[in-house]
Amino acid sequence: MSSARAVFRSVLPFLVGAPILALLQPVMPADYAIILVSVGVNVVLATSLNVVNGFTGQFSLGHAGFMAVGAYTAAKITVGLSGVQLILLPEAVSNQLVFAIALLAAMITAAIAGVLVGMPSLRLRGDYLAIVTLGFGEIIRSVIENMKFLGQATGLSGLPARTNLVWVGMSAIATVVMARRLAVSTQGRALFAIREDEVAAEAMGVDTTGFKVRAFVISAAYAGLAGALISHAILLATPRMFTFIRSIEVVVMVVLGGLGSITGSVISAIVLTISLEALREFQAYRMVVYAALLIALMLLRPQGLFGTRELWDLPLFRRLTRNRLAAAGPAGASPAEVRDDSTGPKGVA
């Protein structure tokens, strides 16, 4: 594969996604748009949490904490720079540029928080790690609640409305592409090795602590991105948006979709978000629904909807693609040939 083709493939999902979203943006009614934003944000959250909980097999419950870090960082930047117009640029462009900087800063600070939380806690595993990450998530929230600078319990309000479908869609695509490329790379395989057997991974030269921290940091960065996006959609950043209930929601999405399955995370994030919106009158039963869903899942399909597999690994999907290929060429293709792990983000664009 030539370099030019690789570059082209790198940006292809964005090239396809951007114009569609840009066209969708003006015609979409506001109340549907906010649902779509929330879907996109949840896709970012679920897919990024999947890198830790699914790929690496470490159970983190602190995703909301990193969201908060990202949300507040971005809010501080956009509010702080709201009056400032970057030189020689029209206001709209300048605003978008400031938001881009804010998103990047949100990812960076969340990543730093990821390092700080990950380094000490990733020595633990299983339930202990879950408890510690939950604790850190709550610490981040209560720190915010007690800092005047961050608006304490009332949070920051009056954020500029910067999040739109294009930003959210691009972020979701970026997260999925990241997860997919990670999954088919040396780094991703090292994460899988840790999930499968930590002792063996270590013996095969995989720096298990290092890779766990890396996965954690990557995941935290994207959680920060999600936090920044959602806070600039509802124009508010309060500690209440980032309680551990939020973390649990994301965990449910990942577990439901299947730990380790990117398509599983994406689909369950979409389905859960939309169905919860549709059932808005029954808001009070939200946690009951979650609990019931999880119990049903554990009983009926403990590995999640997709297990560790992707959509295109499923028998039904394979049969479809095989038929299509058989129709296309007389030779046809076996499932093994259809499945090509070395290629890019097939089916996610």
Binding site: M1, S3, A6, V7, R9, S10, V177, M178, R181, L182, V184, S185, T186, Q187, G188, R189, A190, F192, A193, E196, D197, V199, A200, A201, E202, A203, M204, G205, V206, D207, T208, R214, I218, T308, A336, R339, S342, G344
Partner: protein
């Protein structure tokens, strides 16, 4: 003359009051096949763990190619050139045979997360290289046809071979095999040991084998070490070991006791 690939000098491993391994010394030359035997609980696997960094030796030194490695984490020791297999197979069970080997093929890989994110030239070059190497190792162990099979679905013997392929893929100077023939019948064992010898000849690496089956290990190794209760009771050529009264006592004595009390058929004598 360069330093030997593995030099274990006076390693003692203590767990509280228990001495699992006492004053264990062994120097291995490239291309040498050494057998490590002893009754159950003699400290064989402890010796492996002390060498590969699972444990840090209480006393003594482990040198890989002249470099002191005790105290390093297992993954560092692996990078220095010691690879191992496990007594109870520890494959990455849900991954394909190819991925199992690819995970071990990271020697010299320098591309990081951002390389794979942006599909840089370096990333693509290294991935291609890793794929080629992994396929080679699968072929060496006669597993080329199992490339895309999920490893937990492989038959037992092939799982053992895959574990060896995976260990080889780390590019070791010393390969430590912990009972590679456990659970195999006599014919399978001979086949495996022939394979191990061919690996040694092909890659010129030093191989340390733990094996219960005296007959098999005597047929394959140039040198043997016998452990009993953590103490090296004999060290020499297979013929010398066979006649060594201490070895006979350790084996027959233990075997006798085991038969009396728990009726475990003792490997080595039974066949």
């Amino acid at each position: 003359m360069s330093a030997p690939p593995l030099e274990i000098s006076h390693v003692t491993m203590r767990f509280g009051g228990l001495k699992a391994l006492v004053d264990f010394s062994l120097t291995m030359q490239p291309g040498e096949l050494v057998g490590l035997i002893g009754p159950n609980g003699a400290g064989k696997t402890t010796a492996f763990n002390a060498v590969t960094g699972v444990y840090t030796p209480t006393e003594g030194d482990v040198l890989v190619a002249g470099e002191r490695v005790n105290g390093l984490r297992p993954h560092d020791i692996c990078v220095k050139g010691v690879a191992r297999t496990f007594q109870n197979i520890r494959l990455f069970r849900q991954l394909t045979a190819l991925d199992n080997v690819r995970i071990a093929c990271h020697a010299g890989a320098t591309s990081g997360f951002f390389d794979s994110l942006f599909l840089t030239a370096r990333h693509r070059r290294e991935e291609a290289h890793i794929l080629r190497r992994a396929e080679e190792y699968l072929a060496v162990m006669g597993l080329a046809h199992r490339r895309d099979e999920i490893s937990r679905n492989l038959p037992y013997g092939e799982q053992r071979r895959l574990e060896i392929a995976r260990a080889l893929a780390t590019g070791p100077k010393v390969l430590c095999l912990d009972e590679p023939a456990a659970g195999m019948n006599a014919a399978e064992k001979l086949e495996l040991l022939a394979l191990i010898r061919s690996i040694r000849d092909r890659f010129g690496i030093a191989i340390l084998v733990i094996e219960h089956d005296m007959r098999v290990v005597m047929g394959v190794s140039e040198r043997m070490l016998v452990l009993d209760h953590g103490i090296t009771i004999a060290h020499g050529k297979p013929e010398e070991i066979r006649r060594n009264p201490k070895v006979i006592e350790a084996y027959l004595g233990d075997a006798y006791l085991e038969e009396k009390h728990i009726a475990v058929p003792v490997e080595g004598q039974a066949r």
